[in-house]
């Protein structure tokens, strides 16, 4: 019952708020309240999972194998918590400055419904349905602001990602046809007896679809145009929360359901990961606008996730989980603070930059360290040295582009005349920055959660 609570809160609140005028401040506050309530409910689920292990629930009390299952394990709740926290911060940021569209609160809540559902569902087709709920709400959110560039960004985003979703559907249905079930645990159990070729086809389709969401190297072409075109709060939601679906899918479907095919494709993943890191890093250096710098940096950062997933094992998957969580927080902080031009937002931007580069006092350091540690256990001396070198070079590049853009944006920019709403937004950004610093200084809860999440790939569930 407590498992359904966050989903129910988001969904009911979204339906209710869809009827109301979101531009009104009290409606906006209601949306904030619903997000906070959902976050609290999710925290309760997380505590329960951390203490007693995975929670499971079958819709409508159907016997096992017939009904649609919801299953929350450490991996799912870790991602759901991060995604909701990102939405909460980005929504608070938008609320502080005044919401411009009547649908914004409802869409944010629909996005929260979809993301929570994706992360706690135990059914492959339900994964697709929740995935579509979050995608469709983000298509509309991309157009938020409704200026010319936002509309163009929304068209690009919707068409490219819709194609990705259709590929994903093809992949899920192929899995159903080869295994005869949609329950994720049963698929994982039946996968070893499936012939290799159909499994590779399904795996490739799913990988391409998830790659489009993540924005890894050959599928990144839509990303810069969208992230630079949209409002900074929407960019934070897309890159901080929505892109997590890609990483989650790689872990849940790749590592959890198709481990044999994932091991087979490890060289490809590593090649794409390295290409993403170098491409994203080099192009970020050449950009001037802070949002463009962060957008290209997003392409580079997901490369580390691919490398960690390709290395695999508890260390590799743990690193991928930890890095994804940190990456979401960094991107949220950078996109939000990059939209504000004053000294205090500059501090937050610098903290985000330090976190992306992985400089010790700030939190991103833990994600980078985990990935570096994973590269050091990779097979073969040459591969080990090469991957470690790429991670270090990538870190150097990110330090370079973050501080180039920091200097250009905050040292030379004239002090913008600050109004009340700008101060409120700056305050929210500073709170988020403080959170990143605090979680860097006391990383124990996150490390414990990601370790626990990685362990689910250790023991294959029967």
């Amino acid at each position: 019952m407590i498992l359904i609570a966050p989903l129910a809160i988001f969904w009911i609140a979204a339906l209710g708020l869809a009827l109301a005028n979101g531009r009104r401040r009290d409606i906006g506050m209601l949306g904030l309240g619903a997000l906070t309530a959902g976050f609290a409910a999710m925290t309760r689920v997380t505590l329960e999972v951390a203490a007693n292990g995975p929670l499971e629930m079958v819709a409508g009390n159907w016997p096992g194998g017939v009904g649609i299952t919801l299953r929350a394990d450490a991996l799912g709740v870790a991602f759901a918590m991060t995604a909701i926290a990102v939405l909460l911060v980005a929504y608070g940021f938008e609320l502080a400055g005044g919401i411009e569209s009547r649908t914004f609160p409802a869409l944010t809540l629909f996005l929260a419904t979809g993301l929570t559902g994706v992360f706690i569902t135990g059914d492959a087709f339900n994964f697709y349905v929740f995935f579509e709920i979050s995608m469709v709400s983000s298509y509309v959110l991309t157009a938020y602001g409704e200026e010319r560039r936002q509309l163009r960004a929304a068209v690009i985003f919707a068409v490219v990602n819709l194609l990705g979703s259709v590929l994903f559907l093809f992949g899920i249905v192929s899995l159903y046809h080869t295994t005869g079930t949609l329950d994720m645990v049963s698929i994982a159990a039946r996968m070893p007896i499936v012939e290799e070729n159909p499994a590779i086809v399904a795996g490739t389709l799913l990988f391409v679809a998830l790659g489009v969401k993540l924005g890894i190297f050959p599928f990144h072409f839509w990303l810069p145009a969208v992230y630079t075109g949209v409002h900074s709060s929407v960019a934070a939601m897309l890159s901080g929360a929505l892109a997590m679906i890609g990483a989650y899918g790689l872990l849940r479907i790749g590592a959890g359901m198709l481990p044999r095919e994932l091991a087979l494709s490890a060289p490809v993943l590593i090649a794409l990961g390295v290409a993403s890191i170098l491409y994203g890093g080099l192009l970020s250096i050449s950009r001037h606008d802070p949002s463009a710098v962060v957008a290209y940096s997003a392409i580079g950062q997901v490369g580390y996730i691919l490398i960690a997933v390709a290395i695999g094992g508890v260390v590799g998957y743990g690193a991928a989980i930890l890095f994804t969580i940190w990456n979401s927080m960094n991107k949220t902080l950078l996109f939000l603070s990059g939209g504000l031009l004053n000294r205090y937002a500059g501090i937050a931007y610098a903290i985000g930059g330090l976190s992306v580069a992985g400089i010790p006092p700030v939190g991103g350091f833990w994600g980078k360290t985990a990935v570096l540690r994973a590269t050091l256990i990779a097979d073969g001396h040459v591969a080990r040295a090469f991957l470690a070198a790429v991670v270090v070079i990538g870190g150097g590049l990110s330090l370079l582009y973050m501080f180039q853009s920091y200097g250009r944006t905050y040292w030379s920019a004239p002090e913008a005349s600050a109004t009340g709403s700008v101060w409120a937004r700056t305050g929210i950004v500073l709170v988020a920055a403080a959170l990143v610093v605090a979680l860097g200084a006391w990383p124990e809860p996150l490390l414990a959660l990601s370790d626990q999440a990685a362990l689910i790939f250790e023991a294959p569930t029967p």
Binding site: F125, R148, R149, V155, L163, Y176
Partner: protein, 140 residues
């Protein structure tokens, strides 16, 4: 039957992909719909069994059709329908804002806007005077 189904899916996805590469946004949306419907047909084709309709009371003998794929297709059709409405309204808004649905003209509009923004802020130290003049004439 499998061959007919796969040919139909191939034709739908193929024509859809072709339209998707066109320069007109309406064709892009139609292409997207064809691909989505190809996927819907693919779901039906992926059923594990074919036979009588899976409605209670089930026939005593013989196989019944796989009901799960039909439920999935129905869900996917609803999603396709919603997304189609959304895409059409989106390109309508683009048309209202730009008075064109040609992707080349949209890209040109984007470049022009970017140049204008760069000229207004003037923070880009890479631009020398000659280039500014050249770009201004381009914008004009």
């Amino acid at each position: 039957m499998t061959l007919v189904m796969s040919l139909a899916v191939a034709v739908l996805v193929g024509t859809g992909s072709y339209l998707l590469l066109k320069h007109d946004l309406v064709r892009v949306v139609i292409g997207m719909l064809l691909i989505s419907n190809g996927a819907n047909l693919f779901i039906m084709a992926a059923g594990l069994s074919r036979g009588a309709a899976p409605i209670y009371p089930l026939p005593e003998s013989g196989v019944i059709a796989d009901p799960l794929v039909q439920a999935m297709t129905l869900t996917a059709i609803v999603i396709t329908f919603g997304v189609a409405a959304l895409l059409l309204s989106l390109i309508y808004r683009v048309y209202l804002a730009h008075a064109t649905l040609d992707t080349d003209s949209l890209a040109e509009a984007e470049e022009a806007e970017e140049l204008l923004a760069e000229l207004e802020t003037g923070t880009d130290d890479a631009i020398d005077d000659g280039e500014i003049l050249a770009r201004e004439s381009h914008v004009a």
